[in-house]
Amino acid sequence: MTKQLNPLANSGQKIVIAVTALNAVDSPGPGVAVIRAIRECPDFEVRIIGLSYESLEPGLYMHDIVDKTYSIPYPSAGTDALLGRLIYIHNLEKIDLIIPNFDAELFNFIKLRDRLMNIGIRTFLPNLDQFEARDKIKLYEFGKKHGLTVPRDKIIYQVRDLAEIAEQVGYPMVVKGKFYDAVVANTLEQAQRAFYEIQAKWGLPIIVQEFITGTEINIAALGDGEGNAISVIPMRKLYITDKGKAWAGITLDDSTYIDLARKFVEVTKWRGGCELEVMQTIDGKSYIMEVNPRFPAWIYLTAAAGQNQPATLVKMAFGQRVLPFKTYEVGKIFIRYSWDLITDISEFQKISGTGELDGGKKSEVRNSGCGKIQFDNMN
């Protein structure tokens, strides 16, 4: 007998899914792409609850994407503050599943995983050991342990250590922050400047990594938590922003990348979505440069290529047994674009003042350029 995916199907209700990272800006969070993929799955109906940190995250105002948004406390406020807010939202919305998509918030959500489940909110996340094993700070050890190729690196707390490391890894070297930012340094002076700048932003330690040249490949993978990669889609960036983000990309056909992602999921027993950032060198080595513990912002490409990873995660979170995908479309291209979304000050006021924003009402503000201007009432 086929397992019923939607426990609310008989009552005519929708699955309620809460999603974070609605910052669809120039370096976008994955939230909007995750929702877009989920909404396109014909196997279930959903009500989407946006969880926001900032009042100007564009996803809040995309009312065909998000049904209602609630602000949540910053990760630095801790798990108790987050849990309290989620319980409040859950009492109103009866959330079935939360899909967090920010690196910085995942620690809190993973810590709360069991407590959320106890009140009926599912997640589909790795455990804390898996999450921390692939941390940038531990990546080299992780690679050595599992036979994965990763660049040599050193974790440092003092700027004076740079000179000694330079003798080992040579120039250029990559100076990286523990959460974000990476600078390629060609001299000791450049490395020192990068050290101080990154320290000021993200604190210590600083990671100094061997510079690897090659073609940058990104791989979106979905693990079932038992060592099986349910979906793997490799993508090459075709256009890169000044922040190193993909503005366009194409799906590739190369079993090297599929095998690499499968091995990662197998050795970690990864549960949920992740992204491997890989550098393919001219001599054919695939270096894992970073592992992001959540879906990438380009995740909608997986749905477009025939392996809808977000929708599949929803199915697995509801206990449905899903077999690994076998095929996908090669040569599918995404091209990101900018769009000026127009909204009312009243909407901004609501999310800023009350921490909640209904998605039902479409903005009527239009200035057609023909002299007719109409404002909504502030309420």
Partner: protein, 94 residues
Amino acid sequence: MLRTTILAKYSPITMMRLKKNIATSEEGFIFNPGTGDSFSTNPIGTDIIKIFKDGKTVEDVIEIICTKYDVDQKQIEKDLDDFISQLKGYNILD
């Protein structure tokens, strides 16, 4: 003077094989699905790739192109040599 021609480099019966899964179109678009690289070539390049795909030899390519485009054989040999080097450099030919 020693002159290197394509027929000195490759046997006339050498068949050039496109790498696995290389996609080509009649408009001269070439796509390598393993790397994501794409290229465009002119009508003569399109013809040459089609002839390679049909399993013809280097000698066949020279003969067919000479006939179709009414150009000097030495010139074709030189240009074909360059073209094959480019295709190999871009990982399109085995």
